[in-house]
């Protein structure tokens, strides 16, 4: 009996385990292995080069193109996530009370989140096209002459941010909405009895009570935005100076430069950064769980 139970346990876990090994673990280890070689995409032969790739990467970290990519990524993350947070929260506030057609509006707003980023990038490529793009035509109707979104270096990054905002604001809104709906109605009744003004209710109740969840959403979005690649790829290409994020640079080195070994070393360095971020993330989640335990209302 005991052996049967163990066998069943293994049988249940095995598919996931195999999947993870094939999809996650093997590529990771293979990548680490490759990062110590001079492998190229075009040839199967390679030699071990020791830590030469890593010293190249460390040297690269100080290089202007990496610094630029870092700066671009930073600007992208800060702008995109901040706008998404603000817009998402405002939308959630507007949508928290029920009104006729609320669910229809909600469904419409969630569409961008459901679509593939690569496909959306291509669509936005058409929308943002300077002369016959829908956006500039619409602006023209309003009497505004739209910028050359995808060709003017000043407007390329804003264009990428615009599309990212369009895609991810619904996510922020959804989480903010969940946070708002989690505040029980009697809290607002108590505040009304306590003669709190509308502003006081927002500042002292709504905002602090949704803040932990908003923080979670910001962290999630930041980790995701930090590896921004697909939109850049689809809108401006991976080797555009004004929109080259770290991920795009990585791609450029690995595939366009065909240096798999060097790209692998890059990826390993990025992995370390991601793991560090992930630990910040899990710490925040732990802190949040502790705080909820402390301040959560006990429903009896």
């Amino acid at each position: 009996m005991k052996h049967d139970a163990a066998a069943i346990r293994i049988a249940f876990v095995a598919p996931t385990l195999v999947f993870l090994i094939v999809i996650d673990l093997f590529p990771l280890l293979y990548n680490v292995f490759l990062s110590f070689t001079n492998a190229q995409l075009s040839s199967a032969a390679y030699d071990f080069v020791g830590t030469r790739n890593y010293s190249a990467v460390l040297g690269e970290l100080a290089s202007p193109r990496f610094q630029d990519a870092l700066r671009t990524t930073g600007a992208f993350v800060v702008c995109a996530v901040a706008i998404e947070l603000l817009l998402g929260f405002v939308l959630a506030l507007a949508l928290r009370d029920s009104f006729r057609g609320r669910s229809a509006v909600l469904s419409l707003l969630l569409i961008p989140m459901m679509l593939s980023p690569a496909v959306m990038g291509l669509f936005w490529n058409l929308i943002l096209s300077a002369h016959n793009g829908v956006l500039n035509q619409a602006l023209e109707v309003l009497g505004i002459s739209g910028p050359h979104w995808l060709t003017d270096p000043h407007w390329k990054l804003p264009a990428v941010i615009l599309v990212d905002v369009w895609m991810w604001t619904p996510f922020m809104m959804l989480i903010a909405l969940a946070g708002l709906n989690a505040i029980p109605g009697y809290i607002y009744e108590a505040a009304e009895i306590d003669r709190a003004s509308t502003w006081a209710v927002f500042r002292r109740i709504t905002l602090p009570m949704t803040a932990p969840l908003l923080g979670l959403a910001v962290l999630l979005r930041c980790t995701d935005a930090l590896k921004q690649f697909d939109l850049v790829m689809a809108l401006t290409g991976p080797n555009d100076a004004s929109t080259q994020t770290v991920s795009a640079l990585l791609y450029q080195v690995t595939f366009a430069g065909q240096k798999v070994g060097l790209g692998g070393a890059y990826a390993c360095v990025v992995l370390v950064v991601v793991i560090a971020l992930a630990s910040v993330f899990t710490r925040y989640l732990d802190w949040l769980a502790g705080k909820q335990g402390r301040s959560g209302q006990v429903a009896t």
Binding site: R204, S295, Q297, T300
Partner: protein
């Protein structure tokens, strides 16, 4: 002089449910009035209308001579204690109690002093830095009470404040709330479905059923002279024993004739002949070998100092308060102390004393 006056207050919800069908109530300054009734009777809705948390569908509410019917809760100057405390979970005890003062723009030093004072009064001074989730139910309710008291409102409104507490905490908080109210002399409207709680805390009890007031009276008045069969059965645990029958005259004197027994119980009061229900509290029923009503014991409810013996008779189940054990299955004859009985009209169910 009435301090809080409700005049034909009604509440109909948008879905057509009529929660309150017309309530008239005068509460005197400094009085402790309890709205008592089973769940769904409209007592909480009535309280929430007084607070302004629900709008009135019809009628008028006056507070200290001012018509407040259309005012928002924040304009009415009321303190409200919620059944589930409704403390701000992200604020400490001190911040929770300070909240109403902060909203009123009171100076920081004064807020501090007043919060200290009120927390001292309700006995939560050692807990000021804690958060609501770290407190016991009783302490949370004390915090809720302190928050309601700190602004010194003109009326306290309490919605089943002890509903979620354990039995021992409940008694303690009940005494505590009563003592606070008497000391401060603040008019209080208090909702509960627990008639024992109502009896022990109220100056006056308002018994509500189905959105209507059935009786308004002192605890002893409601207990001794219930206005109708519902109040008779609802107030007291267990409620009054009720025996259906009729009032007749035998040899010129009124007697009560139970429906299913050939008995003529002499009545101490005058009464017109006709169908009636006789009500008698368990404490006026006793075991008596020569008693008129016989039956079989079905339950011997032991409560320490006394017991309630449930006896199945031809006239239905009669509960007797007793000091002697009566094993279930044994037969017993019951004597009724009719000087303490009450008569209810057989048709309307209204007390004959109240007609």
């Amino acid at each position: 002089m009435s301090f809080l006056r409700l005049s034909s207050v009604k509440k109909t919800y948008p879905d057509g449910t009529v929660a309150v069908k017309g309530v008239d109530l005068d509460v005197k300054d400094g009085e402790f009035v309890v709205l008592l009734g089973p769940s769904g009777c409209g007592k909480t809705t009535t309280l929430r209308m007084v607070a302004g948390l629900e709008t009135c569908s019809a009628g008028k509410i006056e507070l200290a001579g001012v018509d407040v019917t259309s005012l928002r809760p924040s304009q009415r100057d009321v303190g409200f204690v919620f059944q589930f405390y409704a403390l701000y979970p992200h604020l400490s005890v001190r911040e929770n109690v300070a909240f109403p003062l902060r909203c009123a723009g009171v100076r920081v030093a004064e807020i501090h002093a007043r919060v200290d004072q009120v927390c001292e009064r309700v006995g939560i001074s050692p807990l000021l830095t804690r958060y609501p989730a770290e407190l016991s139910g009783g302490d949370r309710q004390r915090v809720a009470l302190a928050r309601a008291m700190v602004r010194r409102p003109r009326v306290y409104l309490m919605d089943e404040p002890l509903g979620t507490l354990d039995a021992d905490q409940r008694l303690e908080m009940c005494e505590f709330i009563r003592a606070q109210q008497q000391e401060l002399g603040v008019t209080t409207l208090y909702v509960t479905h627990d008639q024992e709680e109502a009896m022990s805390i109220a100056d006056r009890i308002v018994v509500m059923v189905d959105g209507n007031i059935r009786q308004i009276g002192s605890p002893t008045g409601v207990y001794d002279d219930p206005a109708d069969l519902f109040v008779a059965g609802f107030v007291g645990s267990p409620g009054m024993n009720l025996i259906d029958g009729a009032v007749e005259r035998r040899e010129g004197r009124p007697v009560f004739v139970p429906k299913r027994s050939p008995l003529a119980l002499p009545l101490p009061m005058e009464g017109d002949s006709g169908p009636a229900t006789l009500g008698i509290r368990p404490e006026y029923v006793h075991a008596n070998a020569h008693g008129p009503l016989g039956g079989v014991v079905v339950l011997d409810e032991y409560l320490g100092s006394h017991r309630f013996v449930h006896v199945e008779t031809r006239e239905g189940r009669i509960v007797m308060r007793s000091n002697q054990p009566h094993p279930p299955g044994s037969t017993v004859s019951l004597g009724l102390d009719l000087t303490h009985c009450r008569l209810f009209d057989g048709l309307s169910g209204r007390s004959r004393a109240h007609v």
